[in-house]
Amino acid sequence: MAGVTRFLMRSALIVALIAAWEIAARLHLVSAFLLPSFVSVARRLVADTLSGQLPLGLGLSLYRSLAGFALAGVLGIVIGILIARVKLARWFFDPLVSVGMPMPKIAFLPIFILWFGVFDQSKILMAAFSSVFPVIVAAWAGTENVERVLLWSARGLGASERRLLWEVALPAAFPQIMTGLQVALPIAVVTEIVSEMALGGQGLGGNMMQSMRFADSPGVFGGIVAIAIAGSALVKAMDLIRRRLLIWHPEAAAG
């Protein structure tokens, strides 16, 4: 019962805000252009869903974001582990990662356009480029920090180097790698959407920019709502996946 009450209290503010939004729009406190009524936005979302416009845009954006994210995930983990275990890789990648991390990767978009055109390829690769860094750092740190005692015990029990990697080091590094992936996903999604906004084409971001050009504010706000919902859904999904995969980890028992 207490859980329900708390949920109601928390949603109370959101509900109140939506109500205030609707009232402000109805009373024309702000022009319908600047702040379309909640109802008109909702109506637009429904219309777009039924016409297939929203599912198409959502699907395309998700496809590109997740493709970029998957690429970043695989590359990032491989490079991260390499850095932790191979001295040459570490020497080569360390400055790249340390310099690349704080850079605004989105600035490289025009270069990606030059190399890969204005369609899906550049958007996917841009998303991958932006989100690979946190994965590398996480995989590197996770692999490097595997408790030495753990490795010594396994080695003492006669495990080969390869078994050591796959059966001890990687599972132990997994929570940290997972965290890196969880950080990378929103980055990939946002980068992809911004790329769409700059490049055009179908997709949540592209559609939003199109609406903006046509001064279609319900479309713009509808886009925000769609992105917000899609974004939170993805983050929640990652969280669930993490909990499922890390069920053996003490942090699962704590939380």
Binding site: A107, V194, S211
Partner: protein, 246 residues
């Protein structure tokens, strides 16, 4: 010496960047040799393109960042100190947090038009939440015995807020500012791509559209490098400010 060794791979990459297009290993149009990029950079500098756009970018960045960070940190600390404010604002913060702020750029354009206003507004929004959350967590995490010691020394409640809570929360606040700094660069470039008119982002896309690829590369590298430098400088400032830690 050690720094040189550490960044040697970058030097090697620079050499490859120069050699590969010249040896026709890659298309020189898509990847102009590094020397051509450097020459283009120099031309941009002399023609004042770099200065005027760079200044515009820097101005908008600073405005958005300062506003976002100062208001955000103040809000975060006040939320941690005054429970009613916390109850009111916290759910809103939590709801807005997962929203990618760059997606709000079109809304800013709708509201503020195509100009500096929407760029600053976008950067402000992006910097606000990290500052609020880090200041909030920092202020909440202050050990109560510090507060009590100050009160027992004769300090008033308000004095304790500014003389104890804020300094104690500084490590967290500064970490939040560092995050906001990185985000501000991203939002600056993104908003300049989309809004145009002036700024480094605008310059880069303008050069790209015009086919001046060596200058475009020069612009991209400039922005990327400034972003990197800003982070490093801030780290140094942070270390100096927090010199009292271990």
């Amino acid at each position: 010496m050690k720094a040189l060794l550490r960044y040697l791979p970058l030097v090697l990459l620079a050499v490859m960047w120069e050699a590969a297009p010249r040896l026709n290993l890659v298309d020189a149009r898509s990847l102009p040799p590094l020397s051509a990029v450097a020459a283009a950079w120099w031309r941009l500098l002399i023609d004042r393109d770099l200065a005027s756009n760079g200044l515009s970018s820097l101005g908008n960045l600073t405005a958005g960042l300062l506003l976002g960070v100062v208001i955000g940190a103040a809000l975060g600390v006040l939320m941690a100190w005054y429970r009613p404010l916390d109850d009111l604002v916290h759910p809103l913060v939590k709801a807005l947090y997962p929203m990618p702020k760059s997606a709000l750029i079109p809304v800013m354009i709708l509201w503020f038009g195509l100009g500096a206003g929407s760029k600053i507004a976008s950067i402000f929004l992006g910097c606000l939440l990290p500052a609020v959350l880090s200041a909030y967590n920092g202020a909440r995490g202050v050990d109560r015995v510090l507060v009590w010691s100050a009160l027992a020394a004769g300090a008033s409640h308000r004095a304790v807020l500014w003389e104890v809570v804020v300094p104690a929360a500084m490590p967290d606040i500064l970490a939040g500012v560092r995050t906001a700094l990185a985000l501000s660069f991203i939002l600056l470039v993104a908003s300049e791509f989309l809004i145009g008119q002036t700024g480094m982002g605008y310059l880069i896309s303008f050069l790209g559209e015009g086919g001046a690829y060596d200058a475009m590369f020069a612009g991209v590298l400039t922005v990327a490098f400034v972003g990197f430098l800003a982070d490093r400088i801030f780290l140094a400032v942070m270390r100096r400010a927090l010199i009292w830690r271990e």
